[in-house]
């Protein structure tokens, strides 16, 4: 397989690979967003749990 020709895409390399890069980057952000949000939510809920436990003890 001729890799140089593959990356050149018949002279349209910038446009073709640019498109695939945009597709990949945007979808990776879409994919990561709920995971990041869940982590933040879990942290907040754990803090709330610790607070609620301390309150119920005293």
């Amino acid at each position: 397989m001729d890799w140089q020709a593959f990356f050149a895409m018949g002279g349209y390399g910038t446009f073709v690979w640019g498109s695939y890069a945009v597709f990949t980057v945007i979808l990776l952000i879409v994919l990561a967003a709920p995971m990041v949000k869940k982590r933040a939510l879990m942290k907040e809920l754990k803090q709330r749990q610790a607070l609620a436990r301390r309150r119920s003890k005293s």
Binding site: F6, M9, G10, G11, Y12, F15, V16, G18, S19, Y20, V22, F23, I26, L27, I29, V30, L31, A33, P34, M35, K37, K38, L41, M42, L45, K46, R48, Q49, A52, R53, R55, S56
Partner: protein, 254 residues
């Protein structure tokens, strides 16, 4: 009630929805990875160059599926939004609102990849053609729906208001679809038709259909994941939610 109606009723329960989607997500992720891999391999390595556009046409393998998804997700958001408005089902409201950012992302991908294809093929990144303009309006509507949902504090009234806005914006969907027939556009007409002849060779059609399926699986996977986190957030004072994530707070509602 028949089994399917009964199952839909069960799906409206946040606890059941959370458990069921949790089981579904790994399979959707696996299916998406396999189909995406096959589609990219066939599209980039196996499919021959186009006789007019050379290799630049390979952009369609992501541009066209993304454009389809920008419309598909919008309709899915409206259907879910209507269910939420009419039957006051929290899960449906959440699924509608979880769809909006994914739809906006696919709309943005469509516009950018279209511009990157338009530059070498039309000689311009952007033209104010009916298809391109109506797709840009779609992006603004998505942003409006997301913005309205974020602007209202009560999550449930926010979801209802944003769903109504989405329904108003629904009028744009047939405009986008038929724009290439109603107006003389620079954008080409449909190549793939559900009914009748396809104006595309099977070596190019199959990777395109695979990418269309992969983006749908991606949406299904991602919307469930988003809905689960939103549901946990809104139901965090309920026992089922705390049990589901291994927390136990004294004084929680049942």
């Amino acid at each position: 009630m028949n089994k399917l109606t009964l199952w839909f009723h069960k799906l409206g329960s946040p606890e059941y929805f959370y458990r069921f989607s949790g089981k579904l997500i790994p399979w959707l992720a696996l299916a998406c990875t396999v189909v995406l891999g096959w589609g990219l391999y066939r599209g980039l390595f196996v499919a021959p160059p186009d006789y007019q556009q050379g290799d630049s046409y390979r952009i369609i393998f992501i541009h066209v599926p993304s454009a389809w998804m920008s419309l598909f997700i919008y309709v899915a958001m409206c259907v879910s939004g209507v269910v939420g408005i009419v039957w006051r089902i929290k899960v449906a409201e959440i699924v509608a609102m979880a769809s909006a950012p994914i739809g906006a992302a696919f709309t943005a991908i469509t516009l950018v990849t279209g511009a990157l294809w338009g530059r070498p093929m039309w000689g311009s990144y952007w033209v104010w053609d009916a298809r391109l303009t109506s797709e840009l309006v779609l992006l603004f509507i998505y942003i409006g729906v997301i913005g309205l949902y974020q602007a209202i504090e009560d999550r449930r009234s926010a979801a209802r208001a944003a769903s109504i806005l989405a329904l108003v914006g629904l009028v744009n969907i047939p405009i986008i679809h038929f724009s290439v027939e109603w107006w003389a556009t620079l954008h080409q007409g449909s190549t793939v038709n559900l009914m009748g002849e396809n104006a595309i060779h099977p070596s190019m059609l199959w990777p395109l259909l695979a990418m269309a399926l992969a983006t749908k699986l991606f949406y299904a996977f991602n919307v469930l994941q988003r809905a689960r986190v939103m549901l946990l957030d809104q139901e965090s004072n309920k026992r089922w939610a705390q049990r589901a994530i291994g927390l136990d707070m004294p004084g929680s509602a049942a």
